[in-house]
């Protein structure tokens, strides 16, 4: 069965510092990986995806993610965090069966302090 793990419930970063939100996955076959962000009282917003190609994927709001097949990881990164980046982040893998449903990690709360 396919699964995603986000080992950290919360990540705290000072504004201006680089941030990393970790994600590891377990899939059969090639993974389709996604990152979503949820701001308070809002829905999930798509940040970026990895389907194939370059291991470093760039997305919205200056975020990027690095696909590492040997470590089965897809960590989300940003070189310089903003207070406005504080939100709940979800890593997900797309099911490769008939439905294409997303399978989510538990979510990681990012707190960026001024």
């Amino acid at each position: 069965a396919q699964s995603v793990a986000q080992p950290e419930d919360q990540v705290n970063v000072a504004e201006g510092n680089p941030l990393t939100v970790k994600c590891t996955y377990s899939v059969s076959g090639n993974p389709y990986l996604f990152w979503y962000v949820q701001y308070p009282n809002r829905g999930l917003q798509f940040l970026l995806k990895y389907i194939t190609g370059d291991n470093l994927v760039k997305g919205s709001y200056g975020f990027e993610a690095e696909f590492n097949k040997s470590q089965t990881s897809f960590h989300l990164k940003k070189p310089s965090a903003l207070v406005s980046d504080s939100a709940l982040y979800f890593c997900a893998v797309r099911d490769t069966g008939d439905t294409g449903k997303l399978i989510f990690g538990q979510g990681t709360t990012l707190q960026v302090k001024p």
Binding site: L44, K49, R94, T96, G100
Partner: protein
Amino acid sequence: EAGVTQFPSHSVIEKGQTVTLRCDPISGHDNLYWYRRVMGKEIKFLLHFVKESKQDESGMPNNRFLAERTGGTYSTLKVQPAELEDSGVYFCASSQDHGPGQFNSPLHFGNGTRLTVT
């Protein structure tokens, strides 16, 4: 284009009552998904429509939950009768993928319906 819209944004009902949630996907998106997040836990898949057909309803918790998508446009999710453990945020999402092997588009999510059963 208009995004995925969900109604109501909040619903507070008593145990044993019925609630119906509605989702309007992005126009032209054949795929419609329902998800639920119970307090502090991961987002769980409920079911998937392709147009008006249920492609996968393996995530539906029990027969108190009924989802429909008449005409392949908007969808409703009815909970009857509601129980305390049904409380959570229900998300709807849509995508324009076209079949297995082509699921590389992102899902577009609505803002969710926060359901509280007291």
